[in-house]
């Protein structure tokens, strides 16, 4: 899945530099989440939880309400210590497949 940032109406008036900055931030979030998910430790790290939380907010402009809702449920599962291996695998797949472009 490719997310093209400048396509979103809210971002239309942003300059090229501003869009590039957003792109960097999205990629930073993506790679932080993938790195933390690769951690063998089954516990959810603070970095994973925090970055995933921020990423939900960022990506919610581009993804369907269903995906955002599923991600919020995963965040809730993290908070309730019920973040399963299936959740972890699904999140890894999602962030591995998503690409961002200006």
């Amino acid at each position: 899945m490719t997310v093209t940032i400048s396509n979103h109406p809210l971002f239309k008036e942003f300059s090229h530099d501003e869009i590039a900055e957003i792109l960097d931030e999205f990629n930073h979030q993506k790679f932080t989440i993938l790195r933390e998910l690769d951690n063998e430790d089954e516990n959810v790290s603070l970095d994973l939880r925090h970055t995933f939380h921020k990423s939900i907010g960022s990506l919610s402009y581009f993804l369907s309400a269903d995906i955002t809702s599923t991600h919020r449920k995963m965040l809730s599962a993290m908070d309730n210590h019920s973040f399963s291996k299936e959740n972890r695998d699904a999140l890894r797949r999602f962030y591995s497949e998503i690409e961002f472009s200006i």
Partner: protein
């Protein structure tokens, strides 16, 4: 007309950019500063006391909820978060609104309307220094703020109780009334009660009740500390 001095505090730069852009459509709002580090913001906020804050809840080092509690002035604020589970906590702190990301322009504009209503609806400006007109059953009653003993919230309505036991029912939120009357020494002691702090004769910690002379009202344990500080029984932190 004075512009509404506004500050955004969010560690997510995207949200800062978006809110900044959306605010450009509102000429009565003056965005004076943005902060991505909430710990840097606190001192500046206390110094400049802006009229309105847009505030993220979950930030590193300090949460938006903790930040609000560290302010030395009564701030008008809107929480912005990706996680709606925080909404109840936000409203318990008397947030004007709670916006869940993705921020939508129409929803954002509704929040701005609430801000305008909240900030411009000042009793002193509308009705004169120290009094208010209360419309009830087709009549406007002039009530001095100094006559008010307590205000009780009942869903969308408020009961204003005066020292001579008159009771007026008006359509208003407790939050709005609290903001208007705080400068007159009327403070919140319970999720449903405001009281004139100068009338408190006794604080009963066994029954969690305040004796106001003409009536007793409950106070909440959660607000006890701030209430005791307001009453000068406990030193402010």
């Amino acid at each position: 007309m004075n512009k509404i001095k506004t500050v955004i505090i969010d560690d997510d730069k995207l949200t800062i950019k978006l809110i900044s852009k959306l605010l450009e459509n509102h000429k009565d709002i003056d965005l004076i500063q943005t902060y991505s580090d909430p710990t840097v913001a606190i001192e500046e906020l206390n110094k400049h006391q802006p009229d309105l804050l847009f505030l993220d809840i979950e930030m590193p080092k300090i949460t938006g909820v903790e930040l609000i509690k560290k302010l030395n002035f009564k701030a008008n604020f809107i929480f912005v978060s990706a996680y709606d589970s925080y909404a109840i906590e936000g409203f318990n702190l008397d947030a004007i609104d709670f916006i869940v990301k993705p921020i939508e322009e129409d929803r954002f504009n509704v929040a701005i309307e609430k801000v305008r209503h909240n900030i411009s609806n000042d009793v002193r400006n509308e009705s004169g220094e120290g009094f208010m007109f209360i419309k009830e059953k087709g009549q406007h009653h002039k009530v001095a703020i100094s006559e008010i003993v307590a205000i009780k919230s009942d869903t969308d309505y408020l009961h204003i109780i005066t020292e001579d036991n008159r009771r007026f029912v008006i359509l208003h939120t407790l939050k709005e009334m609290q903001d208007k009357l705080y400068k007159y020494g009327i403070i919140k002691v319970h999720k449903s009660y405001l009281v004139d702090k100068s009338r408190v004769l006794n604080v009963d910690s066994t029954t969690n009740e305040l004796d106001l002379g003409t009536m007793k009202v409950p106070f909440s344990r959660r607000m006890k500390r701030s209430m005791l500080e307001e009453l000068n029984i406990k030193k402010k932190k």
